[in-house]
């Protein structure tokens, strides 16, 4: 039962005469029982943030509160949190049983029998009961990962901290463990902070996502919010695979003048732009329509540069005709549509799916407008 609050948290490192800011004035709240994914590129400060919660890094300024109490200055031993490391950090000289029992022996007063029961129960839940007498070196990567999880679960902590636990697994195993982790978290309802650089994990696993870049929080919200209503260019480009297409342009009256084409805007869009002139236009690959010929206004004549077939869909790299750069726009179309490289087709960008960003600071000016009727529940 624990809410985790970050209050103006700041972390700096001294390197010679330079002060490196790893985390810059982080303010956020992780609700009790929530699965929060902290995501961002390498070096964005997400692991440092996690380690501050664990007590493995000191907090330079600010406060972190767990379950209402400030944990700043508290040693890791006293914080009642459990962590799953990227390298699993299993004790190599101990059996799986002892690995899982160690935390209970060190931080609780439970009898050996009670510990035995807890460890056996948890191992059954994770399907590793037959492995209890083996040493970590005798296990596969997936099994080691389950033991690392088991070690954390058995302690029944106030919060789970996970540092990229799936990154050492192969793609198939990773997909399986993703689902399993979600199931476990829902069962235990323990507050979890999950750090990753993989936006797919963020989208599929998190109740909410916190996106960091260079130590600063860019946005915190549900996966849908971060996907359809990104706060800025960085979030828009980070969430979504393949990532959003960004095109530079200038706003001139009711027209967006891009490098290779022009786009007429509707009145409401012009109003939302206001007086900003330097614009970045964003459009997601799945929203780019490919038509046989550029016929309507705002259609662009393009040449297909590269085709990436995925089976269920195709990624087309489109190059506007007359363009003097090699920049392409990615469009995702259905797998059954056949297109060949070198073909000349038309590209249509529907206005309701456009994202517009202020080029000077990257903030979002306009999000796609989604008609209410488009979102329908599957079951009544």
């Amino acid at each position: 039962m624990a809410q985790l609050t970050f209050d103006d948290v700041r972390k700096t490192f001294q390197e010679g005469n330079n002060e490196i800011v790893a985390v810059d004035d982080l303010n956020m709240e992780v609700r009790d029982g929530e699965f929060l994914v902290v995501v961002g590129p390498s070096g964005c400060g997400k692991t440092t943030t996690l380690r501050m919660v664990a007590g493995l890094e000191t907090i330079t300024e600010g406060q972190i509160e767990l379950d209402g109490r400030s944990i700043r200055g508290m040693s890791p031993q006293d914080r009642n949190i459990a962590m799953v490391f990227q390298s699993y950090a299993l004790y190599p000289h101990m059996t799986v049983f002892d690995n899982m029992a160690f935390g209970l022996r060190e931080s609780t007063d439970l009898s050996e029998d009670e510990i035995d029961d807890l460890v056996t129960e948890t191992s059954e839940m994770l399907d590793i009961k037959e492995l209890l007498n083996r040493k970590p070196s005798e296990l596969s990567g997936g099994q080691q990962q389950r033991v690392a999880l088991g070690r954390a679960i058995v302690r029944d902590p106030d919060a789970f901290l996970m540092d990229e636990p799936l990154s050492n697994l192969d793609a198939k195993l990773r997909a399986e463990m993703r689902t399993e982790l979600q199931r476990l978290q829902e069962e235990f309802e323990t507050t979890t902070i999950y750090v990753t650089h993989d936006q797919t994990e963020a989208m599929t696993m998190g109740d909410r996502i916190a996106i960091l870049d260079h130590g600063e929080l860019q946005q915190i919200g549900t996966p849908m919010e971060c996907y359809y209503e990104p706060a800025n260019e960085f979030v828009a480009g980070f969430i979504g695979e393949p990532s959003m297409n960004f095109l530079r342009g200038t706003s001139d009256g009711g027209v967006l003048r891009m490098e290779d084409f022009s786009y007429e805007l509707s009145q409401s869009t012009v109003e939302s732009i206001g007086s900003t002139t330097e614009i970045t236009l964003g459009v997601r690959p799945e929203d780019v329509e490919v038509v046989p010929e550029a016929t309507q206004t705002n259609d662009v004549a393009v040449e297909v540069d590269v085709v990436e077939p995925f089976g269920k869909e195709n990624n087309l790299y489109l190059k506007p005709e007359g363009s003097d750069t090699d920049d392409t726009i990615i469009a995702t179309v259905g797998g059954r549509k056949s297109v060949n490289e070198g073909e000349r087709v038309g590209m249509r960008l529907p206005e309701e799916h456009l994202y517009l960003f202020d080029r000077s600071d990257g903030t979002a000016i306009r999000h796609p407008t989604v008609e209410a009727e488009e979102i329908t529940p599957v079951a009544e």
């Binding site: 040693s75 031993q77 004790y91 190599p92």
Partner: protein, 314 residues
């Protein structure tokens, strides 16, 4: 007839050609290296061989033959070995009594020190590590005088008797000297043991210590449950190294013990020196004595040499 000669010539020609060929191919380097290795090996082994053969010679055989030649027939004797053993065996016990504890203590203390310097976070670690390194480089000769003055000033004899040690059934006069040697060798060995363990602990994944901290283990619990079990290979290295250093040591023994009297606690190194002094130089006794002295270290290396090699290769 001519045909036979011709064919013989041809065969020899083939032979010479193939020899030349094998020498001109990469094999040449291998052959040269092999020859050099054998020569070097013989060179290294020759003193050993000279010593062994001398130890089996009678006095006259020794005078009349060069060291490298084996004892001539009729002049083979094991007398030197018996005489040497007679002189040395009482001191062998002394040597082992102070070597083994000092080896263990310096190893354990070195391990603890290295743990504190690598796995625990506190200020001033660099300064302390530097002190240990300086301690390693302190020459024995340089601190000899302060050391002997120290032991003169500290009346260990008196302390032990006031503690009632000498009323114990197994207590002996020489134990004071042996304790002095244990303490001195432990202290002198801590530096190198710390250095060896530190290098080893730096290769241990720090994640393990962090995971243990999160699991609730304190500093000592982490040492006892995580680090110590993982230190086994390095302990082998340290023990073997320290055993050799302490057992073979001569200078401290000479200054701190004095004579070669085994009942006064003299180690085997001093007894061996005793064997080498005197007016008549009995080289055969001395050679035999040297080999007898070397036997414990040889045993240690034969039994644990593989562990040593494994431990050094991180």
């Amino acid at each position: 007839m001519i045909g036979l000669i011709a064919s013989a010539q041809a065969t020899t020609g083939d032979l010479l050609t193939s020899v030349r060929e094998s020498l001109t191919r990469a094999n040449r380097k291998y052959t040269v290296a092999a020859i050099l290795a054998v020569l070097l090996g013989l060179f290294w082994v020759s003193p050993l061989w000279g010593g062994i053969s001398t130890a089996f010679k009678t006095q006259s055989a020794f005078i009349n033959t060069i060291p490298l030649s084996p004892p001539p027939a009729g002049e083979v004797t094991i007398q030197p070995w018996l005489r040497a053993w007679e002189t040395l065996s009482p001191s062998l016990g002394n040597s082992l009594i102070f070597t083994l504890p000092a080896m263990v203590f310096s190893g354990v203390l070195g391990s603890l020190a290295a743990y504190g310097l690598t796995m625990v976070d506190w200020r001033g670690q660099v300064a302390v590590m530097a002190t240990f390194i300086v301690a390693i480089f302190l020459p024995k000769q340089g601190i000899l005088l302060p050391l002997s003055r120290f032991w003169n000033a500290v009346d260990l004899q008196g302390i032990l008797s006031s503690l009632g040690y000498f009323s114990l059934p197994f207590a002996h006069q020489s134990h004071t000297t042996l304790l002095i040697l244990i303490i001195t060798h432990t202290a002198y060995g801590i530096g190198i043991c710390t250095l060896l363990f530190r290098g080893y602990y730096l290769t241990i994944d720090h994640d393990l210590v962090e995971a243990a901290r999160i699991d609730g283990a304190g500093v000592f619990s982490i040492y006892r449950n995580i680090i110590l079990p993982l230190s086994y290979p390095m302990f082998m290295v340290v023990f073997i190294f320290q055993f050799t250093q302490i057992y073979n040591e001569f200078l401290y023994a000479l200054i701190l013990v004095g004579g070669s009297d085994p009942s006064a606690g003299a180690p085997i190194t001093l007894a061996l020196a005793e064997l080498n002094s005197g007016f008549s130089q009995n080289w055969n006794n001395q050679m035999a004595g040297a080999f007898i002295t070397a036997v414990p270290t040889l045993i240690v290396y034969v039994l644990f040499g593989e562990q040593f090699a494994k431990g050094v290769k991180y």
